[in-house]
Symmetry: C2
Subunit: 404 residues, 2 copies
Amino acid sequence: MSTERVINFGAGPSALPLSVLEEAQKGLVNFDGTGIGIAEISHRSKEFQAFLDEFEQNIRTQLDVPPTHRILFTQGGGTGQFSAVVLNLLARHRLLHPTATPEETVLDYVVTGSWSKKAAEEARRLAAGHATVRTVVDSRVYSKDGKAYDNIPPHAEFAFSEDPALIYYCENETVDGVEFSHDPQSPASFPFHLLKRDTLVPLVADYSSSFMCRPIPRLADHAVIYAGAQKNIGPAGLTILIVRQDCIVDVDAAARLGATPVPLSLSYKILADSGSLYNTPAVLPIYMSGLVVRRMKENGGLPYYEEMNRRKAQKLYAIVHEGEQKGVFRRKVQQGSESWMNAVFEVLGEGAEKKFLEGAEKEGMKGLKGHRSVGGIRVSLYNAITEEEVDKLIAYMTRFLGES
Amino acid sequence: MSTERVINFGAGPSALPLSVLEEAQKGLVNFDGTGIGIAEISHRSKEFQAFLDEFEQNIRTQLDVPPTHRILFTQGGGTGQFSAVVLNLLARHRLLHPTATPEETVLDYVVTGSWSKKAAEEARRLAAGHATVRTVVDSRVYSKDGKAYDNIPPHAEFAFSEDPALIYYCENETVDGVEFSHDPQSPASFPFHLLKRDTLVPLVADYSSSFMCRPIPRLADHAVIYAGAQKNIGPAGLTILIVRQDCIVDVDAAARLGATPVPLSLSYKILADSGSLYNTPAVLPIYMSGLVVRRMKENGGLPYYEEMNRRKAQKLYAIVHEGEQKGVFRRKVQQGSESWMNAVFEVLGEGAEKKFLEGAEKEGMKGLKGHRSVGGIRVSLYNAITEEEVDKLIAYMTRFLGES
């Protein structure tokens, strides 16, 4: 049995900093000098509450979350939030428009990849008969082959509804490797300028695979931002929410007006009123994520990670581009829409992909196989992946190109 | 900062075996020789799948779960299941009775403590306008003071409905320290004999705080058994389900017939069809729970734990009883209904409870304070608490009695 750690380029669950793992090893047996391990301690103990408060504060400070927004912690991942955003924001809309018909109750979905597609499908399941789910834009229409999620469509194509109950987008599509640009001048940036700013727009963003890799543009304009922890900041089992206060509504009052009732575990109001401790939270995933975010702060916070992640992505795309020129690699995503976090490309030629993966594994690099639905290679470059590790992969890719 | 482990009698999250914590320390950095830590590895890797399969098998074998029942893993705790059982079993009922009126769609709740009361309240929220929630029995009626959950009512008081969509009970009330007896002759046992046995009864049991402390009587007669992991078998963040196949229904077909749509993360069908891997599961809590259940098997399985837990409870109640004779302690639960897992009692006299807790803490015993809603002392005797640890507490209680 090997005792060496490998480099894990997996898309999630994904690599965590070794220093955090080593600290968590101690906490497992004795958390903060309590004589009780972190997996065993009461979530109502003062020690855990202090840890949770620091965790929240470290997110708030680094992402610059204003007091208009609550930071909440829950379970169930992105899939849980596919449902929760629909139910909570339909309840909000019902309270604002008690007599709105299903035709007047519109959910706007921006579909740029597998995850936003799934989110829109869940909205259709839950809202059937109560609301109308609209696809604002479907990026496949603008793809090279008409079938792939390989781009962020141009701003002119975003046809938002007049007064929707929510506007949904996925900032980074983990499977397809497509991400909104954070440069507002880029045609691949999110078209915030098309949204009304004189009202509280119900803008929802899935930030699962890009949370805390760089600042969030126009964070304060969002109604809900959510992220599973298992990419940049921790183990699976924790979901982080940033919710604007007007979206924390009395879902029971809305139900009395005809909205679908919201299960306890999906209600933002229950979470907010209890400080995320209505029921036992995922203490251990919270602990490890809290250690990661504390370490991020010590390293200089988001500016440090943004710069590092920019360099990592630029270097990697440069070698993919070089391989493309030589006819060895092929990029799957259109220029300008490439994800910083999940770089996807193909290795051309019979058996070449297998050879690429085996060669990488032989050098201690794992997790490079693309998602089963799209194939190819996927390199995930989350915060815990160091520049040295990316350099090692690039050195391997360079040799691979030389031998191809 | 102390480095000594204390004895943790907390009600949950609660003590875990030190040998498991030490093994998990290694797995955090390198799981099963993969060179990747367990919190970082893909839930779709063959190594994790093998671990999950073994975990499931170890539960199946030890609890003797028949092939009529699936074992599923999810997130969200008991609170998530308060909602899920209602939605899934209402969908099942709708498919069986497509034209049933809300009056003909009945949910039967057995209320014997704080948790079953909460579960019934959630049913009322979700089923409003669609179904009728009935209290089969409320144990407060049979309590010493008419207000406390201090007993399991006599069998003659259980008034089940004719053809309910579900029958719900909580096997062990963690807060109140009330538990069904597993001796079928006892008046405090669950009155299975009152249920029809010629049909698939939709019997639902919350086993959160007594899961795998002893065998489950008439397991095969249950529709759904669920448990949060954070008592006997692992960290918070994992919920274990045992679901009879006829309760895994096409919730979308039911919704087309008028049932409330079921959010993805609460649908038993989604979980079952994906082998509990529809979305990323709580890998780390699954891992630690899997280690605990593997260790249980090595120790001799449930017969070993049942005997040990019986002895622990008997010893503890004996000293509480002795203290009651001396006017120092007072039991809160009626004879025959006392929980094996959570023993609750009062320490009588001004400031006596505080003195009791402080004295215990001085000797390295923590987590003995009763739930804030009922007060007093609560001693949780989950599987990871050893007989030696109980003996140490009893020695302290004996000295406390001598000094009182």
